[in-house]
Symmetry: C2
Subunit: 406 residues, 2 copies
């Protein structure tokens, strides 16, 4: 009943916006390519008869009215920003899938009791502006608008300035409002569905996580004549932390993952002792206590590493989000829709953060996952079989139909 070809044509067209040579997309939040993707989306929303509103965070909503338009709507969607040189599926299938669902309902002449809104959240990825999931975070009341607008990228451009620049600083207040429920279709970004040969899963919840920024301040000096015992090498301390994060994941409980994803050295010259190293730590678990004790442990590891090397450090918590367990009814509705569509039902917990985590604070929330080839995402080679994408949209369509009738 949904139209896989129309969906595919839009997906293909989207892939050309910010396309990279290696088959990915480069559309970081509020970049020119992100603006082009937003522009195209708004056109499609309007063509589909949806009423478009943009809020103060640049979140884009397309609304299809319900028979009882005064009732809180069913909200579905995801995001169209990408990683730097990221994949084509991450976020996009949730937004274009949402659009396809409302068009399919309209094509079938099917009215729903409740209004349905399709949303594209701003800055889900968190690579250009931190923290991630900033648009949905403000919407859910987790962050102040002022805090969010003042976030700066690596060049010092603020989120607010860039939002103005691309023309997406909307008027609509960005704050919690009455929603009947929220559902998000997304790629799994991990290997579990593919390993088990499954096409679609109900997501039970999302890992909590902490993002730390650590700066070691040593002393630059000449790599030759400076005696070893007089060195204050920021990279030696930093590499201790990289090792500590890896070791900690072996002892921190079953579902703790930890990553040092970014590390930058100054002056970064072959014969100069590193003066400053800035690195990030990403720690995640579905058990909040596990995240907390991992953060405590890394704090101490950073302190020990600095002390061993006799240097200074700064540690900042960039982001801390609690694990979420989604509304039982939402999870069961997704699971039932999977089985009704003839697929084997399964449940997963998401290791990746999602806008759905913040929406879970606002209304009953659920998610639908489709597989990621070899579990790969945040890379250009990210891939999902098109039949699996279609399966996910079909399942979500059935969920939306039920929920919009409530």
């Amino acid at each position: 009943e949904i139209d896989p070809d129309r969906l595919y044509d839009r997906f293909e067209e989207f892939n050309r916006i910010g396309a990279t040579e290696q088959g990915g997309v480069n559309r970081p939040a509020l970049s020119d390519a992100n603006r082009s993707a937003r522009d195209r989306l708004c056109e499609w929303f309007r063509e589909a008869g949806l009423e478009v509103t943009i809020d103060e965070m640049g979140n884009v909503f397309g609304r299809r009215e319900g028979e009882r338009d005064d009732l809180p709507p069913v909200l579905i969607g995801s995001h169209v920003d990408s990683q730097y040189n990221g994949g084509q599926y991450d976020g996009v299938i949730g937004v274009l899938g949402g659009l396809e669902i409302v068009e399919a309902l309209s094509d079938a002449g099917e009215r729903t009791r409740r209004p349905i809104e399709v949303v594209s959240w701003s800055n889900e990825e968190g690579v250009r502006f931190q923290p991630d999931m900033l648009g949905s975070g403000v919407f859910a009341g987790a962050f102040d608008l002022e805090f969010a607008l003042s976030r700066a990228d690596g060049e010092g451009n603020t989120f607010g300035e860039e939002l103005e620049r691309i023309g997406y600083a909307g008027d609509e207040p960005c704050r919690p409002r009455d929603l009947h429920c929220y559902f998000e279709l997304h790629v799994e970004q991990g290997p579990r569905l593919e390993r088990r040969g499954l096409s679609v899963a109900a997501v039970e919840g999302v890992y909590g996580f902490a993002w730390l920024s650590v700066t070691f301040e040593g002393m630059a000096d000449h790599a030759g004549p400076t005696p070893m015992h007089e060195r204050e090498d920021a990279l030696v301390a930093a590499s201790d932390v990289v090792g500590a994060v890896r070791r900690l994941t072996a002892s921190g409980g079953e579902d703790l993952v930890g990553t040092v994803g970014s590390l930058e050295v100054e002056p970064d010259a072959i014969n100069v002792i590193p003066e400053t190293v800035e690195l990030t730590v990403d720690l995640r678990s579905h058990d909040d206590d596990v995240v907390s004790s991992a953060v405590d442990r890394i704090r101490r590891e950073v302190e020990w590493a600095a002390e061993r090397e006799g240097i200074d450090y700064r540690l900042e918590e960039l982001m801390r989000i609690e694990p979420r367990t989604f509304d039982t009814d939402c999870v069961e509705t997704v699971e039932a829709a999977i089985e009704a569509a003839g697929y084997e039902g399964t449940r997963l917990v998401s290791g990746a953060g999602h806008d759905a985590s913040y929406l879970d604070d606002v209304c009953p929330t659920g998610m639908v996952f489709v597989p990621s080839l070899e579990g790969v995402s945040h890379r250009e080679s990210e891939f999902t079989e098109w039949s699996d994408v279609v399966a996910g949209v079909e399942v979500l369509c059935e969920v939306v139909r039920q929920k919009a009738a409530e």
Copy 2:
């Protein structure tokens, strides 16, 4: 007899070329600022009556004729390229000091038996183009001219193109020629002279060193849903090497030093597992066997780190220079001149590489060191008391006078 004020005025003028806000200079090899410094130097050479020649590597020579102009000359000098945001003294005092010495001889109407040449070598620092000491290395026959001209900086500009661009691709062949001797005045760049309260030292030799470039190729993936045991994290492997280099220096013999100065991560994003890490290793000792076994050990550490993480690696030796022990007579001449000038005599081995290392292959060679405040160099805060600089120039002047009379 040398004129400390004239020397100081030139030093001050030089410091304005490529000056940084923090009191350093930014004149990497063949940059615009490096060109300006060369231009100024050539003017001063000509004003002092020296005959200027530029060779194929852009090494700049200023020649003062001798009574027996057919005899091999005494060569003195150093370099005027700097580190990125480096210090004011490194290299510069050897070149301007050399110029001051020939002017002082001329002012005093003193003719010398042998000609004296003052040289400024190209790309001593090795931060923009590797290996370092490229100009003196080709001059001494350690590298082919073609190899040197094809060295590329981080942006892919070759040494040859940049030399043309700044107008310093000279005609004079760059190859070994008959020299009576070579002397270089330089800052120590280590803490030993200052610690002992000494103003000037005779350098006995220079550490040998190896520069390695190591690249780990892992697999980028999402920091959340990717299970720990499936990761191929290039930074985890790289940080093992940083730790291994540090540990090795504790077991590699008394005078082994080791540094990972540069380390770059791709994609370098907070929630993406590092795919590629490129790092450099700098290993030095006055004992060549110590350097060799350190290189072997690091090769194995790199292999082990890659194997532990299940990833690929490449290791390249960028540079290998043997330790040098300078000509006994040259060292003794410097030591005697130090004592004759009323300073306490002392000898040091240099941990920093110098053009003098390559010149040692061509002719009897010696060096004069003056202290570095807190041993600091390759940083903007590099500092030497002016009276110590003057002491160094005076000592070198006496050495040159003796050698030019031979």
